[in-house]
C-alpha cells in the first residue's frame, strides 16, 4: 500500500529522523511505504513503565549540571519524605496498636494505663493509647445520654438509613429511584419518630386546618388548569395547586408526628456524640443542596424581586460566622418568640446550619450555572422546553456535574462544622469525647490523645468516604459526555 504525503515545509528536527537527509531539501515528497508500527519502549508500559513515569523520570536526567542538581535534589527530598512518612506512620501504629493497652480485666480503670512512676504497672516512659477508656466511654461518645434501653431505636435508624443509602448507591439494584424517593421523604419522618419518640402534642385542629387549606389550594389549582381563572391569575392558580399538595403533605407528616407509637419520648438534650453529628450533618447536607439550587436559580432569575431576595439571603448568611448564627439561634431567637413558645435547641441549630450552608451551596451552584454555554439555554428554549423543564433536564444536570468538587467541599465543610454546635451546649462527637476527659476515674496522661484520636478517625472516615464517592461520581458522569 502506498500513501502520498506532500511535504509543505521541511520541519528540520522531526523530519531528519524519518527520512534520508537528501530529500529534506526537496519540495515534494511521496511516501512509498508506511512507517512500521513498533511496540512501545519499556519505559512506557508495565511495572517498569509505572515506576519510571511516577518516580524515576524526575530524577534520572544527568545530562547537564543544572539537570543533575535537580535530579539529586529530587532524589534526596524523595528519600527524606519517605523517611518522614515511615517514622510517623510507625509511631502512630505503635501508639494506637502495638504499645497500646487493650484490656482492663481487673477493672483498674486509670491505673491500667499508668506507668510505674505514676503508680501503675506499665514500664516508665510508656506512651500509647488507652483503649479500655474508650471502651468504657463508647456509649457516651456514640450516643450521648440517650437511654441505654432505647439504643435500639438509634441503631435501627442507622441500619435503615444505611441500607437504603447503599441500595441507592449500588447501580445494579432495581427500584433505585423509588428507594431514593422513600429515603428522602418517608425515612426522615420515620427517623424523627424513632429518635424522638413521636407523639408530639399537635392539635387535631392544626392538622385539620392544614388539610382543608391544602384541599382548597388544590381546588384552585384544578380550576386554573381547567381554564376558569383568567389572565395572570391563571399561573398563580397553578402555583396554588402545587402549594396545596405541599400543604397536604405537611399535614400528613404532622398527623404521623401526632400518633402515639408507644415509644418513650427522649428529649434532644439527651442526644449526643456521633448521633448528634450525624443528625446535624445529614439534615444539613440533604436540605442545603436543594435550597442552595433554588437560591442560585433565584439569584440568576430575570425577576428582580426574586433575584433581590435571594441575593440578600445569600449575602447575609455568608456574611456571618457560623458560631454567631448558632449563638443567635440559642440566645437571641427565644427573646423574639412569644412567651411559652419554645423551639427545640437542636432544631434551632439544625435550621441555622442548613441555612448557613445553603448560602455557600448557592454560590457553588451559581458557579456551575455560569459555566454553561448560552447555547444550551437557547437550545432548550428553541425546542420548546419550559423554564423548569430546561433547568431540570438540561442546565442543572450539566451545571451540577461541573461543580461536584465544590458541592462535596461544602458537604465536608458542613460535616466538620457540626463540631461547632458544642458551643451552644449540644454534645456532638467532639463535645461528647471532650466531656469524657473530665472523668477523674480515667485520668491518665494519654486519655486526651486517645479520645481525640478516635474523634479524628471517625471524622476522617466519613469525610474521606464522601470524597471518594464524589470522585467516583465525577468519573461516572464525565464518561457520558466526553469522547
Amino acid at each position: 500500500m502506498t500513501r502520498k504525503i506532500i511535504k509543505a515545509a521541511p520541519k528540520k528536527t522531526t523530519m531528519k529522523k524519518a527520512i534520508p537527509s537528501d530529500i529534506d531539501t526537496q519540495a515534494g515528497y511521496v511516501r512509498i511505504e508506511d512507517a512500521p508500527l513498533l511496540p512501545p519502549p519499556p519505559s512506557e508500559v508495565g511495572v517498569t513503565g509505572w515506576l519510571y513515569k511516577n518516580i524515576f523520570a524526575s530524577m534520572s536526567d544527568f545530562g547537564s549540571i543544572p539537570a543533575a542538581l535537580k535530579s539529586v535534589f529530587v532524589a534526596v527530598s524523595t528519600l527524606f519524605i519517605l523517611y518522614f512518612l515511615i517514622t510517623q506512620i510507625s509511631g502512630l501504629l505503635d501508639f494506637a496498636i502495638f504499645s497500646a493497652v487493650w484490656s482492663d480485666p481487673e477493672g483498674l480503670k486509670r491505673q491500667a494505663c499508668w506507668t510505674v512512676e505514676q503508680g501503675g504497672a506499665l514500664p516508665n516512659g510508656w506512651h500509647a493509647a488507652c483503649w479500655p477508656f474508650i471502651e468504657a466511654k463508647a456509649k457516651f461518645i456514640f450516643y450521648g445520654a440517650y437511654p441505654n434501653d432505647d439504643l435500639w431505636r438509634v441503631n435501627l435508624t442507622y441500619a435503615l438509613g444505611g441500607f437504603m443509602l447503599a441500595w441507592v448507591m449500588i447501580e445494579r439494584l432495581p427500584y433505585r429511584k423509588i428507594v431514593g424517593i422513600l429515603l428522602l421523604t418517608v425515612y426522615p419522618v420515620m427517623a424523627t419518630v424513632l429518635l424522638t419518640g413521636g407523639a408530639f402534642s399537635i392539635s387535631t385542629g392544626t392538622i385539620g386546618g392544614a388539610t382543608i387549606l391544602g384541599l382548597a389550594l388544590i381546588t384552585i389549582g384544578r380550576l386554573g388548569k381547567a381554564g376558569y381563572v383568567s389572565g395572570a391569575f391563571g399561573d398563580l392558580a397553578l402555583v396554588a395547586g402545587v402549594c396545596g399538595w405541599l400543604v397536604i403533605l405537611f399535614a400528613a407528616v404532622l398527623a404521623v408526628f401526632a400518633i402515639d407509637f408507644d415509644l418513650e419520648a427522649i428529649d434532644t438534650r439527651d442526644w449526643g456524640g456521633l448521633l448528634i453529628t450525624l443528625v446535624v450533618a445529614i439534615t444539613g447536607i440533604v436540605a442545603s443542596l436543594p435550597l442552595g439550587i433554588l437560591l442560585a436559580l433565584g439569584r440568576r432569575s430575570e425577576m428582580p424581586v426574586a433575584r433581590f431576595l435571594c441575593t440578600v439571603f445569600i449575602e447575609f448568611w455568608r456574611g456571618v460566622p457560623l458560631i454567631t448564627v448558632l449563638f443567635m439561634a440559642s440566645v437571641m431567637l427565644p427573646l423574639f418568640m412569644p412567651e411559652g413558645v419554645n423551639f427545640d435547641m437542636l432544631l434551632r441549630a439544625l435550621i441555622g446550619v442548613t441555612l448557613f450552608s445553603a448560602a455557600y451551596m448557592a454560590e457553588v451552584v451559581r458557579g456551575g450555572l455560569q459555566a454553561i454555554d448560552k447555547g444550551q439555554y437557547e437550545g432548550a428554549d428553541a425546542v420548546g422546553l419550559s423554564y423548569w423543564q430546561s433547568m431540570r433536564l438540561i442546565i442543572l444536570p450539566q451545571a451540577l456535574t461541573h461543580v461536584i468538587p465544590g458541592i462535596v467541599n461544602t458537604f465536608i465543610g458542613l460535616f466538620k462544622d457540626t463540631a461547632l454546635v458544642s458551643i451552644v451546649g449540644i454534645f456532638d462527637l467532639l463535645g461528647a469525647a471532650q466531656s469524657t476527659l473530665a472523668d477523674a476515674a480515667w485520668s491518665t496522661p494519654v486519655q486526651g490523645l486517645t479520645g481525640y484520636l478516635v474523634v479524628a478517625v471517625i471524622f476522617f472516615v466519613f469525610c474521606f468516604g464522601m470524597s471518594r464517592y464524589s470522585m467516583f461520581m465525577e468519573r461516572k458522569l464525565n464518561r457520558s459526555h466526553k469522547s
Binding site: 454555554d373 447555547g375 420548546g384 422546553l385 419550559s386 458522569l477 459526555h481 469522547s483
Partner: protein
C-alpha cells in the same frame, strides 16, 4: 358568514406562516432591526444573507423569541408573538431551529437529544417518541450513531443530529442560523445535502447562510440585509445575476469574487 372577502382573508392567513410588520429592535443604543416587513408563505424557502452584524441572525431569532422585538407585530403560524408565555410556548412547538454551534445537549445521547422535546413538550409516549427520533435520524442518515454522545460525533454529524432533533417536533417552520459556518469544509456538504432534501420535501425554511450555491439551488427568495434593514429581496436568479442596489452588488462581488 360566507362572504367572499372573509374566505379570501382566511386563505391568505392559512397560506402565510410568518408575518412581520414594522418590526424594530434595539440592543441598548444600537438599532439592530430597522422597520422589518416580511411575509413568508407555507412551503417557501428563504435565504437571508448579508454582511456580519447586519441583523440576519437577530431577525430569525426574533421569530421564536430567542430575542425580543420592541416594536411592531410578529405573527408566526397565526399566533402573535408578545409577552404571553403561552403564545411563546405554542410558537416554539411549531418552529424548529438549527444553530451555528449545534447546541446539542452533551449529557444526553443522540437518541435522548431527539426524544427529549417530543416527550416533555408534546407529551408523546416514550416508545412513540423513540420511533419518531429513529425515523428522523435515519432521514439525516445517522441512525447507527443513536446511542453515542454528541462529543463523540464529528461537526457535520452533530449538525445533522441538530436538524433531526428539530424535526422530531414536526415543526411547521425551520429556522437555520448559519448552520455550516462552524464546520470544516469537508463537512459542509453533508449538512447542505440534508437541508436540500428537507427543502425538496416541502418544508418551510428560513436560512441565514453564506452558502450561495445552496441559495441558488433551493431558495424561492433571497433576502439581503444590511445595517438592520432588508435592502433587497428577489428570486435567486434575478438576485445573483441582476442585483439592483449598490450595497447588494458590493456584497456579492466580495463573496463571489474570490
Amino acid at each position: 358568514m360566507a362572504q367572499p372577502q372573509n374566505t379570501a382573508e382566511q386563505s391568505v392567513d392559512q397560506k402565510t406562516i410568518v408575518s412581520m410588520r414594522n418590526v424594530n429592535k434595539w440592543f441598548g443604543q444600537f438599532h439592530v432591526l430597522r422597520d422589518i416587513n416580511l411575509s413568508v408563505d407555507k412551503g417557501e424557502r428563504i435565504v437571508v444573507c448579508g454582511p456580519s452584524g447586519s441583523g440576519k441572525s437577530t431577525l430569525i431569532r426574533c421569530l421564536n423569541r430567542l430575542e425580543k422585538h420592541q416594536d411592531g407585530d410578529i405573527f408566526v403560524h397565526g399566533i402573535e408573538l408578545n409577552n404571553d408565555v403561552k403564545n411563546i410556548d405554542e410558537i416554539r412547538r411549531e418552529v424548529g431551529m438549527v444553530f451555528q454551534h449545534f447546541n446539542l445537549f452533551p449529557h444526553l445521547s443522540i437518541l435522548e437529544n431527539c426524544m427529549l422535546a417530543p416527550i416533555w413538550v408534546r407529551k408523546t409516549p416514550r416508545a412513540e417518541a423513540e420511533e419518531i427520533a429513529m425515523h428522523f435520524l435515519t432521514r439525516v442518515k445517522i441512525p447507527e450513531q443513536a446511542s453515542k454522545y454528541p462529543g463523540q460525533l464529528s461537526g457535520g454529524q452533530q449538525q445533522r443530529v441538530a436538524i433531526a432533533r428539530a424535526l422530531c417536533m414536526q415543526p411547521q417552520l425551520m429556522l437555520f442560523d448559519e448552520p455550516t459556518s462552524a464546520l470544516d469544509p469537508e463537512m459542509i456538504k453533508e449538512v447542505l445535502d440534508t437541508m436540500v432534501e428537507l427543502a425538496d420535501d416541502g418544508m418551510t425554511m428560513i436560512c441565514v447562510t453564506h452558502e450561495m450555491g445552496f441559495a441558488r439551488r433551493v431558495a424561492d427568495r433571497v433576502i439581503f440585509m444590511d445595517e438592520g434593514q432588508i435592502v433587497e429581496q428577489n428570486e435567486p436568479e434575478a438576485f445573483f445575476n441582476n442585483p439592483q442596489s449598490d450595497r447588494t452588488k458590493l456584497f456579492l462581488s466580495q463573496i463571489l469574487g474570490h
